[in-house]
């Protein structure tokens, strides 16, 4: 049974709404946890809502030009697009979104949609530090992609498909069918790149507020910032969902979805608390060493062990 | 040892001496002299190739019976060739000497080592 286009759009928007709220709450929870680990009290879990509402409602706005304008649009478009092109709940015709229009390759490359726009927008702002931030972010992101690609190749070998929906389908039937157990090496490679993608410590180069007073997000304010924050909320969940789909068997309902994505995201926070931060050249070098080797092993594993 | 061989050896010796001179003498006139000696040697060798012991010159005068001429005379062809070769050789040597004269006029030297402006 296929949905009509209208209902597909409506269900997608519903899904988006869920993910958005979940993302805001989750970030609050995470910040709380981190604060507690650090011995602070921390913010309330609903703080993110306040932030967004405040920013969207702010009046003092300036613009640097057309690209500055377009940056947040690209960014938020990137997040929403990623959501739209990915099946959220396996087996549900309502929440597989528009995933039939593309496969994992589309998702990989659509990640860049937002990044590129953001980078351009920030570039037009003209602040020197934004450029530095972008160059670092781009540099790190490129190397993160190595292990991610290798992991995806391993998965494609294993399941003989690139379609995310089919990948999830192939992992059904018990926890041991998850990629995590089918190909632990590739999963490790994938998760390492996930750390890089989420840019949490130790790979939090762009966001490093201590080192560079202003990265791209802080150059933007009010509505722009609101859009960017919305995007972050969505993107975190969608990225987690992507990894969930790829490595952890996907989710058949929203509960499973929330639990899995929470823990996947939590790993990044955990690692960030445990490990010190890298300089960008170090992280670039690290990604072409360790995750690369693991990714290669993952592909070999997929080719020969299975 | 027959005469042809003797003359050949003489001719070859002249050729070698001439070349030796051309290779070792620095004076340009001497180099030309060396070439002249080589030429003389070659001409000797050429004529010797036509020589047949005991025969007369290729002139069919009363001493030579026309019908048996081919068994009485030496080979006239090398002689004809040498005739040409001698004249040409002298002509070339004379021309070379004029070059030497003109070269000398420019640098006041007859040494071949002094004319190395063109090289590489």
């Amino acid at each position: 049974m296929e949905l009509t286009l209208t209902s597909r759009i409506l269900y997608s928007l519903l899904g988006l709404f869920i993910v958005f709220n979940y993302g805001l709450l989750q970030s609050g929870v995470m910040r709380k946890i981190v604060a507690r680990v650090a011995g602070r009290y921390g913010i309330p879990v609903y703080q993110s809502y306040f932030d967004i509402i405040k920013n969207l409602a702010k009046r003092s706005q300036i613009t640097h030009g057309i690209m500055f304008y377009l940056g947040p649009i690209f960014r938020l478009g990137g997040g929403i697009g990623l959501f739209l092109f990915m099946p959220m709940i396996f087996g549900s015709i309502y929440f597989k979104n528009f995933s039939f229009t593309g496969d994992i390759v589309l998702l990989m490359y659509f990640q860049f949609f937002g990044m590129l726009g953001m980078a351009l927008g920030a570039g037009e702002a003209g602040h020197p530090n934004s450029t530095i931030g972008i160059s670092r972010g781009l540099a790190q992101f490129t190397t993160v992609e190595i292990s991610f690609t290798l992991a995806i190749i391993a998965i494609a070998i294993q399941y003989q498909t690139l379609s995310v929906y089919n990948i999830v389908a192939a992992q059904q039937g018990g926890i041991l069918h998850w990629t995590l157990f089918q190909n632990p090496v590739a999963t490790l490679a994938g998760m390492l790149s996930f750390l890089g993608i989420m840019r949490h410590a130790p790979f939090n180069v762009v966001m490093a507020p201590q080192e560079i007073p202003i990265g791209p997000p802080t150059e933007y304010h009010s509505t722009y910032l609101g859009m960017l924050q919305s995007n972050r909320a969505i993107l975190h969940i969608v990225e987690s969902a992507l990894f969930m789909n790829l490595f952890f068997g996907g989710a058949t309902n929203w509960i499973e979805f929330i639990v899995k994505t929470f823990f996947i995201y939590f790993t990044t926070v955990f690692v960030g608390v445990v490990f010190p931060r890298y300089r960008v050249d170090q992280s670039v070098a690290w990604f072409v060493k360790v995750p690369l080797v693991i990714g290669v092993l993952g592909v070999i594993y997929a080719t020969y062990i299975n | 040892m027959n005469i042809t061989t003797i003359v050949h050896i003489t001719g070859f010796a002249l050729i070698l001496i001439g070349f030796w001179g051309m290779l070792t003498q620095k004076n340009m006139i001497k180099i030309i002299l060396g070439l002249a000696i080589v030429e003389t040697g070659v001409q000797l060798v050429m004529v010797a190739f036509g020589f047949i012991d005991g025969r007369t010159a290729p002139i069919l005068d009363s001493a030579v019976e026309l019908s048996k001429a081919s068994s009485l005379i030496v080979d006239p062809v090398p002689q004809a060739l040498v005739l040409t070769a001698i004249v040409i050789g002298v002509a070339v040597n004379a021309l070379m000497l004029t070059f030497v004269i003109r070269l000398y006029q420019q640098k006041k030297s007859l040494s071949i080592n002094d004319y190395k402006d063109l090289k590489w």
């Binding site: - | 002249l14 005379i73 001698i86």
Partner: protein, 85 residues
């Protein structure tokens, strides 16, 4: 015909000696004369080899004229030198 061969060998030796002299004498005039002598002996050899035409040519042009031209050239290269000294 031992005699004939002996004459040829002697002439040949004479030519070789003259040629070596021509190449090794320092004095250019002697050198030129020596080459003339080589030619002259050659013309005698031609005569002995039943080549009178060649012999005449060699004597007149090879030994005579050629030597003269060499001498003129030598003269000319000395002459200029003297003028400039």
């Amino acid at each position: 015909m031992e005699l004939q061969q002996g004459i040829f060998i002697l002439m040949g030796l004479a030519m070789i000696i003259a040629a070596v002299l021509a190449m090794h004498v320092k004095d250019l005039i002697s050198s030129i004369i020596a080459v003339g002598v080589v030619s002259l002996f050659a013309s005698i050899l031609y005569l002995l080899m039943q080549a009178p035409d060649v012999a005449m040519t060699e004597a007149a042009i090879g030994a005579g004229l050629s030597t003269l031209i060499f001498l003129y050239a030598l003269h000319k290269t000395k002459d200029v030198e003297e003028e400039n000294d």
